[in-house]
Symmetry: C2
Subunit: 231 residues, 2 copies
DNA sequence: TATAATCATTGACATATATCAATGAAGTGT
DNA sequence: ACACTTCATTGATATATGTCAATGATTATA
């Protein structure tokens, strides 16, 4: 546990402030700033655990985190959270429980803000509330894509989707440095680790993908898109 | 098409008003009442289609509707919508597009309200906004349950979950009258129609379920719960 | 450096599940 | 009452995918 709080300047000056805060006034930002903690996590450390009370909203300021549901014997990764994005589970507005777990995939830092403050701002600032609802809506759309991929595509299509997710949404690069494990890849794609590895191997053999250590390179984007489409 | 509008008294007096409206003032209700349409759908009729512009929020006042994503060759039913519940897709706050389709499963009636009015109320009434966020959160939790059931349980567990969903959440009865087709049951459970039928047959043979015409009766709730748990 | 521990890879095998095809049942319109 | 369409059921078969077990590779630790 390397969880000692590190205090940065303040939210108003923060260069890695989540875009959700753009509709806040200086006073509102200061409100957030006052009740906020900055914490460092080592890779692998759990940020919070499914089933525990959820008291804070977490903004990832560096590194990479995963949020995942601990299901029946295996995990389903709902999303990877990169800087500067935040984690705000659906339980906050229901029963203040976490409905998924979160952990650091890479060494990470994060700001924690009390959800009471967040909810207060939602009530008092309509722009903020609307931005928040937009964000919730986007998450829902993402969930829809994921559930369709997981339930209606075969493994090749699901791995293709996962690779595009990593390349386009998370690492934002094409030869990209894979910082998640094969197990994580499998947990994103809803299959066993062995199956995920096998698909990667096939992609390599077909010249669609090259893997050099942790460096992944999608060589034939068009063909991989095709595989994603045809399931 | 039996889509002729039927005008009821008004929202303030409406006995089948969705609970989301409870935080609205009389004037706000009147605002909704003014721009509202009451429509009747026959079973099977489409209310709106995935990909089309979404302009109205739909409150189901009688009958039963389904919302479903048209995926790769087959549909996934996200939820059944019974009175008095409403349909408000995530696209409304993103790009005003429908990200799923909706259709009437039984003969149904519904009230349509312009989403512009709805969004205006979200901005002006904090209680209403908070109720709406709660509702979105509940939907997300439901999505989580569904995706875990669909991706981590085998067919028996998924059918068990679907049967409990129908009995406990939709029909709210135990011997219940099944108004959805086997194909719909399969589309809820993420499997082929034939597989769904086979599982039902097995449940019948094991005395867990009785099916008499459209009357379904879960005879051994405990065992079915067990099947749901063990996947 | 040695040792343990985790992670990645591969093969063999069992099985859950979809697909295809045929048939029966039930409702619908003429 | 009739043909006709949709829906439900069943069986046979192919295959996608998970599980188990073994091994290699890499990293952490003493």
């Amino acid at each position: 546990m390397n969880g000692k709080p590190v205090f940065f300047s303040n939210c108003a000056d923060c260069s890695c402030k989540s875009s959700i805060f753009k509709s806040l006034t200086a006073e509102e930002l200061e409100l957030i700033n006052k009740g906020r903690f900055h914490v460092a996590y080592k890779a692998g450390e759990i940020m919070f655990k499914q089933g525990t009370p959820s008291s804070h909203f977490i903004c990832v300021t560096s590194g990479l985190a995963k949020i995942y549901i601990e299901g029946y014997g295996k995990n389903l990764i709902l999303a990877l959270i990169k800087p500067v994005d935040y984690i705000f589970g659906p339980g906050v507005y229901i029963d203040n429980k976490h409905y998924y777990s979160a952990s650091a995939v890479e060494d990470s830092t994060a700001c924690l803000v009390d959800t009471i403050i967040f909810k207060k701002l939602v009530r008092s600032n309509a722009d903020f509330a609307e931005d928040f609802i937009k964000r919730l809506s986007n998450q829902t759309l993402f969930n829809f894509e994921q559930v369709i991929s997981l339930t209606q595509k075969q493994m090749h299509g699901r791995i293709a989707d996962a690779l595009f997710y990593l390349s386009e949404k998370i690492y934002c690069a094409n030869p990209f440095n894979m910082t998640i494990s094969r197990q994580d890849l499998a947990d994103i794609s809803g299959m066993s680790k062995e199956s995920a590895i096998r698909i990667l191997k096939e992609f390599k053999e077909e010249g669609i993908l090259s893997v050099d250590g942790n460096l992944f390179d999608i060589l034939n984007i068009k063909q991989l898109k095709q595989i994603s489409e045809t399931g």
